[in-house]
Amino acid sequence: MVYLILVGSLAIGTPVAFAICAALFYFMGVGAFPYQLKLVATQMFSGLDSFPLLAIPLFVLAGEVMNESGITVRIIAFAMVIVGRFRAGLALVNIWASVIFAGLSGSAVADTSAIGRVFIPEMARRGYPLEYAAALTAASSVIGPIIPPSIPVIIYALIATGVSVPALFVGGIVPGVLLAIFLSAYVMIFSARYERGAPSPVEEQQRPRGMILLDGLLPLLMPVFVVGTILLGVVTPTEAAAIAVGYALILGVLIYRELPLKALPGIFSRSMVDSSIIMIIIAAVSAGNWLLTYNRIPNMITELTLAFVSSQWTFLIAVIVLLLIVGLFLEGIAAMLVLVPILHPMALSLGIDPVHFGIVVIFNLMIGLITPPMGLCLFVADSIAHVGIGKLTRAILPFFLVELVVLLILAFVPQTVTYLPRLLGF
């Protein structure tokens, strides 16, 4: 009956968090001791009672402030000067602006929204098909949660034992850059034809290059400071996120003077609502996970799976296929919260490096951001391009395949993830 309530309410479109709650309320309501109704609220409260978790609303707030304060525009101009002169220059700028943006916000959807508003119309103006521009923007924004700081990494470290936030942060650097390189190679080979005859985006810049580079330095100090202080252990990720918000506010309000104070209430409110949508799932899943753990269900699933799967590689392939399918239907962080408590112990039992496994899982689920029907980045890109999800899905297929190739490299060449953390002593 519990599963019927869970599956039934999910199927009719009940928000994921409350579908889980509904099933738990039924179970706790009819179950005998020790199951009591108050346990749902108790476990939901415990699930949120964590200081590291506060990094989520603060990083969301940092992203919102950056979008409104002119920082994004400066990042794009900076990337334009650096890579705009090459073949398929504008497409390259799109990708590398995402890399820089990733170091600031760690959010793929915020990246699609911020960069897409500028790039999708601009790429269309310069001859790129609209759906291609939207697809590239959505695909390159997947880099956001891979390169630190990253909200999914913080959540992963909270739910998976034996893996630290700094280690995962460092582990994500090479995969994020690798994805940018592969996407760049693809656009340089297949997209240059769209820009033929158009002047180089660098030539169209009105201001001197030196000024643009100088202007971009202040925003670029932020990721260096945020990631650097976390990795050096000077601040916790939550404190770093608060400092990032403070820094973005100083830039937007006092230095660039592009962020009016009257915009702040709306920014604070939106950030809290956006964070709540994920944090209420964290709370509900915490309550659900308590029930599963109390009944040793993850252990049983682990033992059952390990009876059939004995090789690391077979397990990784199975996980990749599973997460690609789950990513089609469920938002990445929700999927992570449900599956990681089960998959992580299995990976450890098979001797897979926890940082390697964590990055593979996060990368895998973030690909789900560009696959319909639950591809959030796809929806945001379409809300800017207005080409229709069907057309956009066809245009994104080559980028999806590029990301799949990078995922397989990460999965089967663990050093791509583990080399840097080991080098830095994590």
């Binding site: 999910l10 479109g13 409350f18 108050k38 749902v40 999800i389």
Partner: protein, 193 residues
């Protein structure tokens, strides 16, 4: 009638948005000031870690209720996207009722939780609450040194979700079929991971 319900929806949304915004501002302010104090002057507020956590729990509850009014929650739309608008409309009405029930249950569960453990001291906030009561002469403020006001967040949140779902139900019931936003439009541009 629809106009009245929409006005009610806007009013509830506004209250929740203000509460969510104030909570977010307070969380940022406390953590930011506390971090700067710790690294610049080597001191920090004793309550500077726990209070933002409790505020976040309240903020999540306000945001969750507002998120429902704005149709922003993560949900499976695989089946609902495939069915005709009229059937989807009926299904979403059922979802609203499921949410009312879930909200009421959460409020009840949260009340039982606060009742059972609320009298326990919130150790890192206790002294600050007592100090506040002594300074202001308002003895009632000492309650903030107990877990009760913080653990009540779930009960209040559940009630707010039930109210939001009820308003949404009334709005959906009265509005013409097909007027609700489609899956893609439900996604907030600001949201993101």
């Amino acid at each position: 009638m629809l106009r009245l319900i929409r006005s009610l929806s806007r009013a509830v949304s506004l209250v929740l948005a203000v509460l969510a915004g104030l909570t977010m501002a307070a969380i940022f302010g406390i953590i930011f000031v506390n971090s700067l104090q710790r690294y610049l002057f080597g001191t920090s507020f004793q309550w500077g870690e726990k209070l933002p956590i409790y505020l976040t729990i309240y903020g999540v509850m306000f945001g969750t209720a507002l998120g429902y009014l704005q149709d922003r929650h993560v949900r499976f739309t695989v089946i609902t996207d495939l069915i005709p608008a009229r059937v989807r409309h009926v299904l979403y009405l059922i979802v609203d009722l499921v949410m009312v029930a879930a909200g009421v249950m959460l409020a009840w569960s949260g009340w039982l939780f606060a009742e059972s453990r609320g009298r326990v001291d919130a150790s890192s906030i206790r002294e600050a609450a007592r100090g506040l009561a002594t300074t202001t002469g308002i003895d009632g403020l000492a309650i903030f040194g107990k877990l009760y006001p913080y653990q009540l967040a779930l009960a209040i949140g559940g009630a707010l979700v039930a109210v939001a779902a009820l308003v949404k139900f009334a709005e959906r019931l009265l509005e013409p079929v097909g007027a609700e936003p489609q899956a893609g439009a439900e996604i907030s541009e600001g949201m993101g991971f």
